[in-house]
Subunit: 566 residues, 2 copies
Amino acid sequence: MTAGLSTAQLTEKHLSTLDQALDAIRTRVYWSPFPEHPKAYGPEGVPGSPSPADGQAAFEALRGKRFELDQPGTDGWAGGEVSPYGPELGIEYPHPDADVLLPAMRAAMPQWREAGPEARAAVCLEILARINARSHEFAHAVMHTSGQAFMMAFQAGGPHAQDRGLEAVAYAFAEQTRTPHSADWSKPQGKREPLELRKEFTPVPRGISLLIGCNTFPTWNGYPGLFASLATGNAVLVKPHPRAVLPLALTVRVAREVLRDAGFSPDLVALAAERQGEGIAKALAVRPEIRIVDYTGSTAFGDWLEANARQAQVFTEKAGVNTVVIDSTDDYKGLLSNLAFSLSLYSGQMCTTPQNLLIPRDGIGTDAGHKSYDEVVADLATAVSGLLSDDARANALLGAIVNGQVEERIGAAAQLGEVALASRSVTNPDFPDATVRTPVIVKLDGAKPDSEAAYLSECFGPVSFAVAVDSAADAVRLLRRTVREKGAMTVGAYTTSPEVERLVEEACLEECAQLSLNLTGGVYVNQTAAYSDFHGSGGNPAANAVLCDSAFVASRFRTVEVRRPA
Amino acid sequence: MTAGLSTAQLTEKHLSTLDQALDAIRTRVYWSPFPEHPKAYGPEGVPGSPSPADGQAAFEALRGKRFELDQPGTDGWAGGEVSPYGPELGIEYPHPDADVLLPAMRAAMPQWREAGPEARAAVCLEILARINARSHEFAHAVMHTSGQAFMMAFQAGGPHAQDRGLEAVAYAFAEQTRTPHSADWSKPQGKREPLELRKEFTPVPRGISLLIGCNTFPTWNGYPGLFASLATGNAVLVKPHPRAVLPLALTVRVAREVLRDAGFSPDLVALAAERQGEGIAKALAVRPEIRIVDYTGSTAFGDWLEANARQAQVFTEKAGVNTVVIDSTDDYKGLLSNLAFSLSLYSGQMCTTPQNLLIPRDGIGTDAGHKSYDEVVADLATAVSGLLSDDARANALLGAIVNGQVEERIGAAAQLGEVALASRSVTNPDFPDATVRTPVIVKLDGAKPDSEAAYLSECFGPVSFAVAVDSAADAVRLLRRTVREKGAMTVGAYTTSPEVERLVEEACLEECAQLSLNLTGGVYVNQTAAYSDFHGSGGNPAANAVLCDSAFVASRFRTVEVRRPA
């Protein structure tokens, strides 16, 4: 590690990247400073990045050991991660004594506040740059905690997560610098001398920010809150999901190294690993020192946080029920292949994976002629089967089932209606203990009240429902109800009818859901791009926040004004 | 009223004002489009403004009548305002049937959303311009509900409130237009064709916004939330304090007129007057249609709203305890006259009025020599007495006591310690029934635990405590504790010592309070200027929001993205 970097050096190093990120969030065009292809990393590629093999070796070297972090207030060790691919990681992490750790984190904050928005952004960008260089190591850590296949773990857990972190830094910087550092105020008083004041404005942090990580996307869902809070002057306590500690522990380690190198207290970022069944998040979230909480996970605990962590700003991403309205298409083949991919990617274990496919019971118009409801469902089942017919390809797309509950849901779903596509188990030759499952598609009748319980609940995992509806208008009614009552991270629609398109758009504008229309190529409804796409809307029950907009950062700091006679 | 104004006409009329407001919130220099002197209004002055006499006549014409508003869902009439100056207003307002009114308000929103940020800003500016022209009428309405003296009712209730409303419109416009209306996104794919999407971004409202008004500053504290919500596409239901309905009822009437003239549904803004003891705010605040709440008032109800109106974004300004640290000065006379004015203005019935004056028990250094604690307190008492010695001037500064509880507090305060300045009753020859009281100053010893209960509670009204402390450092310790535990809207300090100045600044930065240093001229700690000063910090218990920053507007709308293949 480079020691003794001045913040001026870091600012010079990263200012152009920050400026480009600021441009990107303003224009929403495609941009990223972090290459997404694994081959871009290594001695010939991204500066300072080890080879893929060395990255993997770095990951392997962490296994079966204590993960040392020199943070204050360690009262023991906690661990127990088991890869969804089978192996135990065997890593132990420091367990915090909050009564020691939190005061140390608070004590680190005044110097960080004084550094100002630009220096803080530069330090955050250095953290991201060092993480980026180690993307291969992070990819293995994400793969063996989330169960994502390697390529997805690399991209979503690496460069794309880093993009979301950088995006948050850019929003934080923009928001903190909207008010000038100082102003001279002069109010005319007619013939008398004007009233004159010198005013200084300082962005100040709220306190300690608590990041409660999730199992499936520890970095992608974690980085926005972590970097938004750090860039706005707060200290950040990182409480990973107990089954996905390593990617965030590595993040904390890198952050602490960079902070120390730049002359700040490393205690601005610390880890809170927990013992089995300890439920440490609940205790931490309501402590008075905690003034911001970022959370991704179940609706039950998200609602609990919103109700109980009242001393804090609480940003949550919870469960939702994602819908695709299938009305008509001029590219039936593209529709099928695009949807098949969306349903298969990471075995549907994304908060953005479509669940309810609403299809008129009279069928749909396509460029390949009219297709009945049964034909559409059968063709989709065939498309999914075809996509996953080769086991190697299936493994590369599906990854592993993250936990037993998801597997149980696959079994239970098959009891809910007629199974249009049965889930099959795939063997992973590299990891024979991994549970790898293809999606199940179940037919349901939207007119039957007893189907409602199924399609109006989130069934997280590779389960989707082909719901027969009376018409496109009926689909839009059900879409509205689903978003309003259950929330949605994504909505998709296929239609060639301007009228249906208008109805779906209007529903999404009124119910506040992000809409992807007629995706038939290489962009999928479950993927969003930092700097351009919003992840979630913050306006329906699936999430109270967006990755990333100014509301996501603006309340993480306050502005203190000091005024005095000029 | 001008009928049938197009939004294009309104935009052209007001765009330059909006641009200037956007510049002002960026530079924080002095600016206002609304003249603050009463004489600026009339046929020779602000276009369209009636003469002061006609303004007063317009107010008088409202008295003793029903205040008709053609809003849907009126199930009766409610009223009963009695001027703090004595007279009953005798006005009855429509009482809402929320089950009829709220759906009508919701139905008005899609067209308002479709109009877009610029048209909404223009309509808001037209509302403010028409209110501005009627500032004399509003001044009498504010005077006879809040008890403010005429000049203050005119300025704070008129142009300054309009400034705070315009400031909120500017913030709302800036925030909604940070994301472009559309973007073309093209992601390179190596040798393959790039992925290309057309993306559209639309700011969408949250729902119906509920404004819960206060008794003392119905317009000044009400306009920021009202206009921030309206400008971001929401409908706004205005629930005034039952003793200060008229200023907001007039506001609602003007808003409805402008909305109708501009081709929108007037139901985007409606009034919810309540019957005596009805507590309608509690029922409205938790309705699912209400997605935003703005509130100014007691800590108890503010806390209740934050805990219970969980379906809404809740912005509160509650009680606080404001402190002035008096360490030393190079303008003793200026210090005394400035503080005397701050304590006297509107009989201390401002959320920003200083309460605790922390003075070292060994006295302070001044340009007029060393002054003992007793001398400082006695000189301040003399300065207040001198300022208010003339009854006409006293009436013009003090206004009337807004309600019986304030009067009771004056009496009770005198029992808490040695009275350095007794409150006296002043007769108002124009309004013999008005209760007009000068400030009471009570000496307390900060080292005596039994004084704590007094100076660590908000004693709203013309009561201040001269608290003897051990030293400047002791004063800063008490300041920190007060802000952290009780909150503060304002902090003042007088010092010639760079070290004490640094300590006070550091305390305000860490405890998140707005600081005015060494005010000795015509700017007072209890006054803030829109576009430049922040009112409250949002970071201590006195308020969870600031008038006005981007956090105050950013979460009032969401951005919905629709993306489709390019």
